[in-house]
Symmetry: C2
């Protein structure tokens, strides 16, 4: 099995894209025309339509666990089924479990096993504020990737993340860069909508750690800025802008493909 | 419905206990005598035996989500079944979902709905380092509690949690105390094994926020120290020391009850 990064860079080259499609299925926003009588298979059909329509442009898919867990045990069956849809409809695409887990010792080992063995995902998002040692059980899976939250865009982010001098998120970026020199399977999540310049500051601390950048798409405004600051080793994700581009089932595939193409067209002007 | 805190203090008084039993079922440590042919019902029987044996002494049960998630979708059915066992075998006990979630905006709302509506837990553990605003969707359920990680005992904890002056975990404790003055449904998790004095420092910053203190029991050594430093508004949890007190099914109930009794006897010398 190739490493996450090798698979990523092969797909980036082949597809001319750094697009990651976020899968956050909200029953309340399900387009008209899917059978709402049983919401679980309806969501599965809907996500399959989106995956089929974007498979040639998406380097990765990122299901958000919260949207599956809220549906109870059947939601986790849906999660497993959606992973199967990705493997069958977009076989080379990477699967990132957006789970934002983070815990110590034995519990961290269980979470690593959950996402890398039970569900066979290629990467998982994690929160490293308890200490880099909490990430180690994930890094032990050398062919998979640990994508750690470095800096987020929510209004409350400054309170702790930006405290201290240098700010905590930059000290974390430096710690991640150091650890990644040994393991080579770390990525970082960097939110860019509130403070686009933070990407450049993080790049100064961690020039070689690839970045997963959320929050581009719905507005679409700062895609160029992100690409310029982050460099080539990046995945940029769009969720709702692709998922909810059409109000009705008949239009879902066409609208999702069109939005993905629009984003990838911009990406290609920056990819070498 | 009474608030989490009211239910807690009623049970503390009635049971003369601040014991929280951690439910972290590890298939590899399942005592002999349970049918390992189908591990899910075997774990359910095992945990039911522990709950039945400790129900009169435990104020709360704390299932650790990682140990259920790793078993796949059926693991989440098991989680729901174990909650039913608590409600039926120890009807007044509180249920704390040890999930350590933490995310922004819509995702945080989904996680709040997952634990407070889908699974009807009484409290959930959370990680507030992305900012206190990420906790708000949980605080909106006023009868439930949000238990935020303030300080942990893992070897890597100093790296970020103790950085700055005053250290980050104390600034977080102060922020939690301020927010709790408005909402009244915050608790904090404080790990005590590596640095027992940190409980007293956190108490200085947040005298009125109740504490959930893990890591006591297996050794048992510092239970007195924790009780002295934390005061009356506390839950102290023991997991493996109670769960794995006996190597065989026949001894599980008796050994779990004996270990719970031993801990509660010490607690009673500190409870007024």
């Amino acid at each position: 099995m190739s490493s996450f990064y090798d698979r990523y860079s092969t797909e980036r080259r082949r597809k001319g894209s750094v697009l990651c499609v976020g899968l956050d299925p909200d029953p309340a926003r399900l387009p008209e025309g899917y059978d709402r009588g049983d919401i679980i298979p309806a969501i599965r059909s809907f996500l399959a339509d989106v995956i089929r329509a974007t498979g040639e442009l998406a380097v990765a898919y990122k299901p958000n666990l919260a949207f599956f867990e809220v549906l109870g045990p059947r939601g986790m069956e849906l999660f497993a089924d959606v992973l199967e849809e990705v493997r069958s409809l977009a076989p080379e695409a990477l699967i990132i479990a957006d789970a934002k887990r983070g815990d110590v010792g034995h519990t961290a080992e269980r979470y690593a096993k959950t996402f890398f063995e039970t569900y066979q995902c290629d990467a998982v998002t994690l929160r490293p504020y308890m200490g880099m040692d909490t990430i180690d059980p994930f890094l032990a899976y050398r062919e998979r990737a640990a994508i750690v939250l470095c800096h987020t865009s929510n209004a409350g982010a400054p309170e702790f993340q930006e405290s201290g001098e240098p700010p905590l998120y930059l000290r974390m970026a430096a710690a991640v860069a150091t650890r990644n020199e040994e393991t080579g399977n770390l990525w970082m999540v960097v939110g860019a909508t509130r403070d686009p310049a933070s990407i450049r500051r993080i790049r100064d601390e961690a020039p070689d750690v690839p970045l997963l950048v959320p929050g581009v798409g719905a507005q679409g405004g700062d895609l160029e800025g992100v690409l310029e600051a982050a460099g080539q080793d990046v995945l940029i994700y769009a969720g709702r802008a692709i998922l909810y581009a059409a109000p009705e089932r008949d239009g879902v595939a066409r609208a999702a493909a069109a939005e993905a193409e629009r984003l990838v067209r911009v990406m290609r002007t920056y990819l070498s």
